[in-house]
Amino acid sequence: MYAVLIVGSLFMAFPLLYGFFGSLCSFEEFYNSPLFPFPRHLYLENYRVLFTPSVSLGLWVANTLVRIGWYILIPGTVAVFAGYAFARLQARGRDAVFLYLLSSMMLPGIVYFIPTYIMLARFPGSGGNNWLGQGGHGFINEWPALLLTGWVNVYYIFLLRQTYYSIPSDFEEAARVDGAGTLRVLWDVYLPMLKPTLTVLVIFQFVSLWNDYQWPLIVSAGNPKITTLALGVQRTLLSGAYIKKLPPSTTDWPFAFALAMVATLPTVLLFLWLQSYFVEGVQGFALKG
């Protein structure tokens, strides 16, 4: 039994260890050690190249951080309000509305990607389009395409609703007796108590947008100025030989490994720092549903 654990753990760790040690090798050293690349002396050239102008790492990170900030702020605000509405406000039709929102989780994203793409491309008056939405490229390859979708995240609304349920309503009632309105109640009473759940939201949005690939590939692949991290890194991984002006015959894997390591490090560090919140977030639906 423990053999499975050991072998399995090796399988899990091997690619990352291989990549880490490989990234510290020079090109020649790497190709002279087929089984496992072990650098004989510290070689940081692969990392140094990443921070020269030939790799736009800084731009990709900046663009990604803009999206992360935006997608924490908007879906977070929506979830704080909607979670409150579903947990604390009595209204006819409430459960039906909640089910309507939940229904999206049964469908794969691709059933709305294509019309959404067309909607963005044909948005009237944008990106060279006339008022009928014809003639230009619309929001495709422009910032709005990377910021307009995904404002309502049902999973976070669900998480927030469960958190409101777990808070006794005495706090709210006391504040209301003192004359506080709903906005004040949300801000002063609930927000401090929502902090753990909002931390879960922040780290999951961070990881998923840091790694977001599919949507940026579809709507922003033609504009290098708005390239985000995962897309930029994926497209640059195999061009190490070109960037380092080596003969173009073989892939410069050490360079690729260094780039992949740098792109992966932030999410891993975040995980090691806030492990318990990750566990909380993964469990969300399963244990509370």
């Binding site: 423990y2 654990l5 753990s9 899990m12 760790a13 690619p15 291989y18 990549g19 490989g22 190709y31 929506v78 309000f81 909607a82 409150y84 509405a85 009595q90 209204a91 509305v97 309507y100 049964m106 469908l107 794969p108 994203g109 691709i110 059933v111 709305y112 294509i114 019309p115 793409y117 067309i118 491309a121 307009l148 995904g150 404002w151 309502v152 990881v207 790694n211 690939y213 579809i218 995962a230 890194v233 994926q234 073989t250 892939t251 894997w253 690729a256 490994f257 992949a260 992966t264 999410t267 891993v268 975040l270 995980f271 566990v279 993964v282 469990q283 639906f285 399963a286 244990l287 549903g289």
Partner: protein, 304 residues
Amino acid sequence: MAGSVQTAARRKGTSLRRRQTREFWLILTPILAYYSLFFLFPVFANFLISFTRWNGISGAPRWVGLFNYRMYLTQDYPLIVMNTALFAVLILVAETALALLIALLLNQQIVARGLFRALWYIPTLTSAAIMAQVSLAFFSPYDGMINAVLKSLGRPIVVWTTNAFWMRLFIVLYSIWRGVGGPVVLFLAALQGIHREIHEAAMVDGAKGREMLRYITLPLLRPMVIFVLITGMIGSFQIFEAVMLMSKGGPSNQTNVMLLQIYNDAFMNANMGVASAGAVIMAILLLWFSLTNMRILSRGQVEG
């Protein structure tokens, strides 16, 4: 006197009700409007587009009836649908079984448990696209690690990328590597949720290791297994980055999957009709799989 107090209370109740209803719709109206524009409307539009021929760029969509759906019965499309289902089921079953086993092992008192737990979750935090691209370093035919090892052992090299069996295997292995962490965490959480008293009571009744597992632990994990299989199915059907960047669907579509084909139809070949039909077929397959899954798995739930 008593009557007027009651009326006042009722009036207060009604005004509270009214305030809550007003605020509920004040919050939900913009959310529902947004949601309808970016979810409900596109889903319907996708359905309609699937009956048309349209490039999505210029001109009006032309109604072609079921042409696009019939298309899915010709050429390599049936193969692509089969591949998707095969990958989804293989990856999901292997991943869930492995995760269950690992969680049972990690739930014991073992050395460096925290380290192991982190190790199994970390691949999930990496980018699917970046890691798929990097994985070429292992099986790339002419500068990959596996062939370099074969060569140094004096064995002939294998051109993995032209071999459907090997590419399928690499894609499955990669997907398990990246996907197993979530289920491990879920099973561990479920195991820790089983109260110690239940195990102690079973122990008093004479249950031993294997019996305990078979009759106590596994049945109690059942809801979590169902949850992992159903949510996992939706995810594993949408396999995309691994195929796109490891095999590009090749050799000759033998590893191609629906999402990649839909992406190519829609955004590379500007054939929105066929792509939308693919999306509809995928949604129907998924709903059908999920419902069947739920029915099979929840059978015997009542006795259990």
